[in-house]
Symmetry: C2
Subunit: 143 residues, 2 copies
């Protein structure tokens, strides 16, 4: 089968120009920015863990071991701005701050949790692929 350099096969069906329709494959589409936030290691873990019950900042920090305060703080701020988590401050002492998932965030939770579950269930397959890849010689150019 010779995959000749066929003429550019314009991808069909994506080119709906009707209405303010968004397309993540358009380089200037604002969805790219949103996608960048969703498709983030920490976002997956945070929204995955905010499973119906709100958590305080340090509770979250301990639940997601390995995240630094700065990055957790930044990520939560971004998620709050995008309407995916709600931040509520209680004037206790010391101050208590609770983070809860919003209804909008809930519509995303299943998908994000699926990502985490995929990593867990397919870890062995990925490790096997990595070993096989690393075992092969460094791609000498054969002629």
């Amino acid at each position: 089968m010779s995959p000749g350099h066929s003429k550019e096969t314009a991808h069909p069906a994506r080119a709906k120009t009707a209405k303010p329709r968004y397309d993540v494959y358009a380089p200037d589409c604002p969805t790219r920015l949103v996608l960048a936030r969703l498709a983030d290691k920490w976002t997956v873990l945070i929204l995955g863990r905010l499973d119906r019950t709100p958590l305080r900042f340090n509770q979250l920090r301990r639940a997601i071991a390995g995240v630094s305060q700065k990055v957790l703080s930044q990520t939560l701020k971004g998620l709050e701005r995008d309407g995916l988590v709600a931040r509520q401050v209680f004037p206790t002492v010391p101050v208590t701050v609770e983070y809860a998932i919003t209804p909008l965030g809930l519509t995303l939770q299943d998908t994000l949790q699926a990502l985490g579950r995929w990593a867990e269930t397919h870890m062995d397959a990925v490790l096997a692929a990595q070993r096989q890849y690393d075992r092969r010689p460094p791609a000498a150019v054969r002629r």
Copy 2:
């Protein structure tokens, strides 16, 4: 596929201490690394676009407008190493390189495409949340 198939275990009587159970919430779990690859803007777009039909490097580059050659190259290399895409070189001239999604990658595709679709369908809600967030005053400390 048998995850427990290990060549170097020569002690059949020795019960394995449960299956290698992975947990993305454990900081040292290797799933964190895999999750970091999956939860990536470009991974979502690449695997989402490798929709059953293989694409050449530059086809992919044009399909995902906005990605630089370097990043596309790096990301594809990583995806190949993790067994999610297969790279095939055809000795044409100029050389042709095709990237196809693997069976393993296919088990992930729906979830990743769901992410992209979420961004597209909920973009308006996110934009509204952002406007509301940005409108409020810069959180003066009230006492």
